[in-house]
């Protein structure tokens, strides 16, 4: 099953998921539409809908075959109708929305060398001072494009060209929870200790994933994040991992 409606394309992903997709770009306008489509479909609370997973330019819906579709009509016909209808309804809904706001989080980061273990490396590679890297990293508001890899891992963009840098060729065996890193044009936060290849510039004292069912991930796709620099002392007093 696949189709196109206006700027949207949609297709089945295997036999129990469908994807709504826009142009494959890291673009905030596209991200915002994905975020709103997510909210729009989510609010319908349809039976048999198991998951809605937004990421960059796509929204994937995972469904339970027997509860979401009827057995009397071919699945492909039902899904094609469903997708076409969703897009029409969504575009009407979107036109009625005014002043759609995203949540902005101001996130503290300690960029001191004990945490910012790759600052020197970026400084050398990109011919820029460590102070400038920090200044540039904290100067922009970033959009959350995706959550994944690990529970709560937050992918944000777009970082300034002057501080963009490739992942390490060989990932570290362990990157500490809270580490803030850069990979290409993205910046991200490690939610837990894990292997990782991003270039680490600092650490946030915030716990961005909490297994408590009422908390879970701090951020969601479509949120905005701006970092601000704190000292090691402030880090210690704000540390949520204690």
């Amino acid at each position: 099953m696949k189709g196109i409606k206006n700027e949207w394309s949609f297709y089945s992903l295997g036999d129990h998921a469908i994807v709504f997709s826009l142009a494959a770009k890291m673009d905030v306008q596209i991200l915002q539409k994905i975020k709103h489509l997510n909210e729009f479909i989510s609010a319908k609370k349809m039976s048999g809908m198991l998951e809605l997973i937004p990421s960059y330019h796509s929204l994937t819906m995972v469904y339970d075959i027997t509860n979401f579709l009827s057995s009397t009509e071919p699945a492909s016909t039902q899904l094609l109708n469903f997708c076409n209808n969703i897009i029409v309804e969504f575009e009407n809904y979107l036109m009625e929305q005014k002043n759609i706001q995203s949540t902005l989080y101001k996130v503290p980061v300690c960029y001191e060398k004990i945490f910012g273990i790759d600052l020197e490396n970026i400084s050398k590679t990109n011919q820029i001072s460590c102070a400038d890297i920090i200044q540039i990293h904290t100067a922009f508001e970033y959009d959350v494009y995706s959550i994944g890899f690990l529970p709560g891992f937050t992918y944000m963009g777009v970082v300034d060209d002057k501080i963009k840098i490739n992942r390490h060729d060989k990932p570290r065996n362990e990157v500490s929870a809270g580490s803030v890193g850069i990979a290409g044009l993205q910046t991200g936060i490690y939610p837990s200790n894990s292997p990782g290849g991003w270039q680490i510039i600092g650490r946030t004292p915030w716990k961005i994933f909490d297994p408590n069912p009422n908390k879970l991930a701090k951020f969601k796709v479509g949120d905005r994040v701006q970092f601000y620099a704190i000292s090691k002392q402030e880090f210690d007093s704000l540390n949520e991992y204690n």
């Binding site: 992903l13 699945a75 879970l216």
Partner: protein
């Protein structure tokens, strides 16, 4: 009043049907690798079909029962022995306090399941007892609480109710059926070059020794896309065929990450995933394209017997 892991296996754990609804937080679904066998074991015991089961890989954990229980072993034939005596699978079995269960050798399949009549008395997380990367350790205690009525009577009734033809049909599908593994094309399917399109549909593949609950790495012809292309990460599902930059494929399994940025060539259909999960290393198989309507009709047929 529990079940004890005397000696841990290589990758054994408690599983159920998994956890859905949290992938947007990056939380994996987890759950039984071969959900059909896990379901069958519970069905034979007339349990809730989502009840937690013990998933065993080989070499498997050695287990001691610290109470009397009715259990059922389904899935792979690892030659189960209770106190050194061979016991059948896919049937309810009465075990007694201090009995010891071990698995001798992998004859058919790769993953076995033990369902227990009663309740599993541990806290769940986000509605599931399947935890990512949590494996048994020596001396772990599994808090299964047995029935508090006559086990012998219950056993007789369960044996009387056994649906022998259903069990046989499922066993044949999982371990005798050598038909190709069917899949639906994914978003990067049309990016494969002509040779690769031919190879994936005609040449045999095998599952390599690099396999775990996250994914099965395949051996087979190297595949490549016609243009070098990078993909923005998007959601993946169990059964996703990911093409790695070196031309190998990985099939994502129950503990897969929620999103992936490799070329997504397709998804194995749900009805063929248990059979695929059970394949042994080195056993050759082929892939075949199918369509959505067929996949869903087959799925409804496969799970229909469990619905009443």
């Amino acid at each position: 009043m529990s079940i004890k892991i005397l000696h841990k296996g290589i990758a054994d754990s408690i599983q159920d049907s998994g956890r859905y609804g949290y992938q947007h937080f990056g939380v994996q679904p987890n759950g039984c690798m071969d959900n059909l066998s896990g379901t069958l074991a519970n069905y034979i015991l007339q349990n809730d079909l989502n009840s937690p089961v013990i998933e065993l890989h080989f070499p498997s954990s050695k287990i001691q029962f610290l109470d009397d229980y009715i259990i059922c072993i389904s899935g792979a034939n690892f030659v189960p022995v209770l106190n050194e005596k061979s016991i059948p699978f896919n049937t309810p079995i009465l075990v007694h306090n201090n009995d010891m269960l071990s698995m001798l050798q992998p004859i058919d399949g790769s993953i076995a399941y033990i369902a227990v009549k009663g309740t599993y008395n541990e806290p769940n997380w986000l509605n599931s007892h399947a935890f990512n990367a949590k494996r048994f350790n020596n001396d772990d205690i599994l808090n299964f609480v047995t029935l508090n009525h006559d086990l012998k009577l219950t056993l007789q009734q369960l044996i009387k109710d056994l649906d022998v033809s259903l069990i046989e049909q499922i066993q044949n599908n999982l371990f005798t059926n050598k038909e190709p593994i069917r899949f639906l094309p994914g978003p990067a399917w049309q990016d494969l070059n002509e040779n690769s399109l031919h190879d994936i549909l005609n040449k045999p593949f095998t599952i390599s020794a690099q396999r775990n609950r996250m994914g099965y790495h395949l051996n087979g012809p190297k595949l490549s896309t016609s243009i070098s292309k990078s993909y923005l990460s998007s959601a993946v599902t169990k059964g996703t065929l990911q093409l790695l930059p070196n031309g190998d494929m990985i099939v994502l399994m129950a503990d897969h990450q929620t999103i992936g940025g490799y070329a997504n060539l397709g998804q194995i259909i749900l009805v063929d995933l248990p059979r695929f999960a059970q394949m042994k290393n080195g056993q050759p198989f082929k892939f075949r394209l199918t369509n959505l309507d067929t996949a869903q009709t087959l799925y409804r047929t496969m799970y229909a017997p469990f619905k009443h």
